[in-house]
């Protein structure tokens, strides 16, 4: 890693409860990563912009209720902006039966309430490596 992992931690949709995402942001910071942390209620186009300006490797979305239902919109928006090298993770409460669809849509990992800080940090680290490799490939193309 030439420079620390850059991770955007955010909440899209309408829910404001961000205790979980704050805790995760602290985990990632304590693991040496740079976390761009946003308040809840981010619009999808804002998230794309942030990802671009901050040149992030991974975007972590916290969803406790139903905001994960608009993840496909975020994925599409990132693709449209040529940012689909960015890896996506979702954390929070996602009903079991709605998870496969999310993964199919392009989410790399889903963390439920039982996920440990270790798991989260390791996964994000890995995904950052993947993201950078993917970006390089894309740039050459």
């Amino acid at each position: 890693m030439a420079y620390p992992e850059r991770v955007l931690v955010t909440k899209i949709g309408f829910d404001g409860h961000d205790r979980g995402s704050r805790v995760v942001a602290a985990y990632l910071r304590d693991a040496g990563m740079e976390v761009i942390y946003t308040p809840p209620w981010q619009e999808i186009k804002t998230v794309v912009k942030l990802a671009m300006q901050e040149d992030v490797d991974v975007v972590g979305v916290s969803s406790l209720a139903t905001d994960h239902l608009i993840m496909p919109d975020l994925i599409a928006a990132l693709r449209d902006a040529d940012m689909d090298h960015v890896r996506l993770v979702v954390g929070g409460i996602i009903p079991q039966n709605e998870q496969p669809e999310l993964m199919d849509a392009g989410v790399s990992a889903i963390f439920g309430p039982g996920a440990t800080s270790e798991e989260i940090v390791e996964t994000v680290r890995q995904l950052a490596v993947e993201a950078r490799a993917a970006r390089e490939t894309a740039e050459v193309a």
Binding site: F14, G16, R29, P39, W41, I93, P113
Partner: protein, 558 residues
């Protein structure tokens, strides 16, 4: 406590306890240190050496009188059971109406309405992504929606709680409906739950509604309006729930909440109101966690402290001003996604703590609370839980049954100390607004949240089904509530039609008046109510006030 016991020779007791300790230590071997969520050590045994009833008069007194530790009323639950006020919010107004009528049949004695998250964001249903509408609350953007939601519900006889922050459009719609039905305003009872924008700011991030000075202005105008026109409505509910859910310990929560209440009371006084005018209508709203005794102690201490504050700081003379009235909601944060039916047991334990804590009204969560809006089954069981505790466990028969317990009284005193410490921190920072500006509150909450999470990770804090007693068996799939897409689409279509069919001139004029009031000294809330009468929508009212009073700014503290 018998006279004999209270005359126990302290020296003899000390010896006896020392003897017991020796036996205890021998048997238990390696004892564990138990620290509750607020950081107070919990010992294995409490005796009159920790608290004796020689302190009864000073610490406890009788129910219904200072210091109010045992309860704010003379009869408490024995005279009148706590209000069963279940939070309801889902789908379309019609969905809400169906559910609320079912709940009233099942035994709920009051209702609570929570609007869709899009509403908290400040926008109408035609501006939201369709999949997010009605998933966590009911879509109510107009007076017609409110009318449909409360169809056949006697609003002049039942207490309603509106879960709505500034500028309280839901309440405005409710008043419009009351006008339509010929229900006089003095018959409207209930509470403006979620009126506490400071707690939203630090823990729930609903600050995008209005700028802080704007919210402050509307809050005070709303209190003034209600005191004058809707005298039996509680315009203020200071919310401890958000902070505790965000990670504050129970003691921190109570301290921060009381500090917030002080800030609002100061604002009301600054605007010229008399403390005995508005304080009787100040209420509180708390989470009830599963840290059973800690919660009981938290509430008892809070009651005692508030009575002290209103008399000493504000010189309130009316006993009604001294009463710490609160609504409790069993904490969803303690509930798990894993093995969801276990949550029924959790909710029962939390509810008992709330009852023993002396709450005035309660909401019990559905077992699927961790996942989604409660299904009918879950909602029914939640109300049944309260009925069982009342009718079968007879929890209403004795006032403050834990009063006098050596443990509970010691803990109440210790919690009080911790609460005062938090309040001092806020006071030294110059009050709640300043403390929030400086990030003190957010850091306090964040620190506690991180600490708690670490304890869960290390297993120091056990959660059944999550870090212990995990089940190999697949969790049975819990139905998650999703509103009917068709119904939602129809709702949005009807809403657009409603807007097209309105008298635009009336709408424009109402909005002009609202804007003018915002820039002048007229009561802004009066104009919000006027706007609701004229068919102005929720989103339009908020857009207008955001323009005139300022958009909320996020305050981020890492």
């Amino acid at each position: 406590m018998s006279k004999k016991a209270s005359n126990t020779n302290a020296a003899t007791l000390k010896d006896k306890q020392a003897e017991w300790k020796v036996r205890y230590d021998k048997e238990i071997g390696q004892d564990r240190t138990v620290i509750n969520r607020s950081g107070i050590e919990v010992r294995p045994l409490y005796t009159p050496l920790d608290w004796s009833d020689s302190r009864y008069g000073e610490d406890l007194g009788m129910p219904g009188e200072l210091p109010y530790t045992r309860g704010i009323y003379n009869t408490m639950h024995r005279g009148r059971t706590w209000t069963q006020r279940q939070l309801i919010g889902l789908g379309t107004p019609q969905d809400y109406n169906e559910r609320v009528r079912m709940m009233l049949q099942q035994g709920a004695s009051a209702i609570s309405l929570i609007p869709c998250n899009s509403s908290f964001r400040g926008i109408d249903c035609d501006e939201s992504p369709l999949p997010l509408l009605g998933t966590c609350g009911t879509v109510i953007n107009t007076v017609d929606h409110m009318d449909a939601a409360l169809d056949d519900v006697p609003i002049g006889e039942i207490s309603t709680a509106m879960n709505d922050p500034t500028p309280f459009t839901l309440f405005a719609f409710l008043l419009s409906v009351a006008k339509r039905r010929g229900v006089p305003f003095d018959k409207i009872t209930g509470t403006a739950n979620q009126s506490d924008y400071i707690s939203h700011f630090v823990a729930n991030h609903m600050f995008y509604r209005l700028s802080q000075p704007g919210a402050r202005r509307v809050f005070v105008d709303h209190v003034k309006f209600c005191r004058e026109h809707v005298p039996n409505w509680n315009p203020v509910s200071v919310v401890g729930q958000h902070m505790q859910q965000a990670g504050a310990t129970p003691a921190e929560t109570m301290g921060l909440t009381l500090s917030t209440a002080i800030q609002y009371a100061d604002d009301c006084i600054e605007s010229g109101m008399d403390p005995d005018n508005f304080l009787p209508r100040f209420t509180f709203f708390f989470d009830i966690s599963i840290s059973f005794f800690e919660e009981v102690a938290k509430f008892r201490a809070g009651r005692r402290i508030w009575a002290k504050i209103v008399r000493e700081r504000y010189g309130a003379k009316d006993p009604r001003s001294w009463r710490f009235k609160f609504h409790g909601q069993t904490s969803g944060v303690d509930l798990t996604q894993q093995q969801p039916l276990n949550n029924i047991a959790r909710v029962a334990a939390q509810a008992i703590a709330g009852i023993f804590g002396g709450l005035q009204s309660m909401h019990t969560d559905g077992f699927d609370e961790a996942m989604a809006c409660p299904t009918e089954d879950a909602a029914r069981i939640a109300v049944a839980t309260q009925n069982i505790l009342r009718e079968e466990a007879h929890l209403c028969d004795v006032i403050d049954p834990l009063g006098g317990s050596y443990y509970v009284e010691s803990l109440t005193n210790e919690m009080e100390e911790k609460i005062f410490q938090v309040m001092d921190t806020i006071e030294n920072a110059g009050g709640m607004y300043n403390a929030v500006d400086a990030g003190i509150v957010q850091r306090m909450i964040g620190k506690s949240a991180l600490e708690y999470q670490s304890r869960i990770e290390t297993g120091a804090e056990k959660v059944v089904g999550v870090n212990c007693y995990q089940s190999e068996v697949e969790d049975r799939e819990v139905d998650t509530y999703r509103p009917s897409r068709d119904a939602m689409e129809a709702q949005v279509t009807a809403f657009k039609a409603f807007k097209a069919a309105r008298k635009q001139a009336d709408v424009d004029r109402a909005l002009d008046e609202l804007a003018r009031a915002a820039n002048g000294s007229e009561n802004v809330y009066q104009k919000v109510v006027g706007a609701a009468d004229n068919g102005v929508t929720h989103g339009e009212i908020i857009a207008c006030l955001r323009r005139e009073l300022g958009f909320g700014h996020p305050l981020m503290v890492a």
